[in-house]
């Protein structure tokens, strides 16, 4: 339903198609990360952390559902959140690359989480002030959750980085593996700028938050300036297809199956 100016968000007009892609992109980020975190269930280093990772996953899943439901209504094709989650292909997923990266060890999962939580702290804060009251409501709620998540993930990164030689080595390795996916978090297109009030200019703020945690954790940012990108355009790393094949297999194998 392109062309109809439905959402005047920051003075600039965003058409339905732009708003749909915006909502789906952020929903995909949360859904893919929720699926990754869910892979830890029954495998975490201790029971309490098993619960924590499942709780993080649940919050991200809830955020994804709220965004998908809104997106499906904007799209106006009679689809719902499940159609968007389970019946799109890898190329149609537009999550940023950081969230699809494999769990690796516990250190890698926590570094990924801390990078993403620090980003969401800024993102949700910005989106909670947009003129679109529905989006602002979802963001204001999610912002509280991101604050709680960041406290947990940053605490673990410090504990692991400034821990034993082995935990330091693994956490530093995780930072080196994942750093190349961080600049993409603050890439933004025209629609992002119109809706999200220009998150692109918030990269510095993210950097100071992330650097603060890494410093305290005695970890260092890699020298290699190489950065990957392409998630919002559907160009993914080799990991997303495998994640989706597991997440979507039931709907693909038994179309329309319901609990």
């Amino acid at each position: 339903m392109a062309g109809l100016p439905t959402a005047e968000l920051t003075g600039q007009t965003v058409d339905d198609e732009g708003l749909f892609r915006f909502l789906v992109g952020h929903a995909d980020d949360n859904l893919v990360l929720a699926q990754r975190l869910g892979e830890w269930v029954s495998r975490a280093p201790e029971l309490e952390e098993d619960l924590a990772l499942a709780n993080l996953a649940l919050d991200h899943l809830g955020q994804a559902r709220a965004l998908f439901t809104y997106a499906a209504e904007v799209q106006g094709e009679g689809k719902d959140e499940d159609d968007l989650a389970f019946l799109r292909t890898e190329q149609e997923f537009t999550n940023k690359l950081l969230v699809e990266q494999p769990n690796g060890d516990f250190a890698q999962t926590m570094v990924r989480q801390m990078f993403f939580d620090a980003y969401q702290l800024i993102l949700w804060e910005q989106l909670s002030e947009v003129a679109d009251s529905r989006l602002a409501g979802i963001a204001a709620k999610a912002n509280k959750e991101a604050t709680y998540h960041f406290r947990h993930s940053s605490g673990w990164v410090v504990r692991l980085g400034d821990g034993t030689d082995e935990s330091h080595r693994r956490t530093q390795r995780a930072v080196e593996r994942l750093w190349r996916f961080t600049a993409e978090l603050f890439e933004s297109g025209e629609v992002d700028a119109a809706i999200g009030r220009g998150i692109a200019d918030q990269a510095e703020r993210w950097l100071s938050i992330a650097e603060g945690v890494l410093d305290e954790a005695t970890l260092t940012i890699p020298d290699d300036p190489f950065q990957r990108s392409g998630g919002r355009a559907g160009a993914h790393t080799e990991h997303l297809g495998h994640l989706l094949s597991e997440m979507q297999w039931m709907q693909r194998t038994y179309p329309g199956l319901e609990w």
Partner: protein, 162 residues
């Protein structure tokens, strides 16, 4: 209120206040000692033509109890003769533990769940000691953290303040 109104109310709830009072009795599926009203999940009851529209808000975005709560609302209304009903979920204003009454907090405490408040104010629901330790910031449900009392060694849930 006249006697006539009172007697008809006994058969079928007619006012929105009466309907809300019915729904306010529904226990939270995960912490059944308090109701969805006391938790602040039940926001509004409205009439839209012949339809009753109930508005609820989740404690956390991913709270898995929401679907069960929707079902309980529809069932409660149906049991009271209201078939045409809809449950709407809203996210704004964002749910906060500030909405919980002192009475509801006391019920939680008596149930063994430390009520929401500052971390420093958490007392062991069993022995009232303030010598408590956080075992995990995340507990058995989205809205709770896991604590342990260092005095009596009892593990307990703390309702997270957000």
């Amino acid at each position: 209120m006249t006697e006539m109104v009172q007697s008809s109310a006994a058969q079928l709830p007619s006012s929105l206040e009466e309907i809300r009072a019915l729904l306010a009795e529904i226990p939270d599926p995960e912490i059944p000692v308090i109701t969805i009203e006391e938790l602040g999940i039940l926001r509004r009851v409205d009439r839209d033509g012949g339809r009753i529209v109930v508005t609820i808000t989740p404690t956390y975005s991913g709270c898995p109890a929401m679907e069960m709560i929707c079902g309980q609302i529809i069932d409660t209304l149906a049991a009271n003769g209201i078939e045409d009903a809809q449950v709407k979920t809203v996210y704004s204003p964002a749910w906060t533990t500030d909405w919980m009454s002192e009475a509801a907090k006391a019920k939680l405490d008596a149930y063994g769940v430390a009520p929401p408040g500052s971390r420093e104010a958490v007392l062991c629901p069993r022995c009232r000691s303030n010598d408590v330790r956080t075992v995990s910031s995340f507990g058995s449900t989205a809205c709770k953290a896991l604590m342990v009392c260092q005095a009596c060694l009892e593990p307990f849930d703390w309702f997270k303040a957000i």
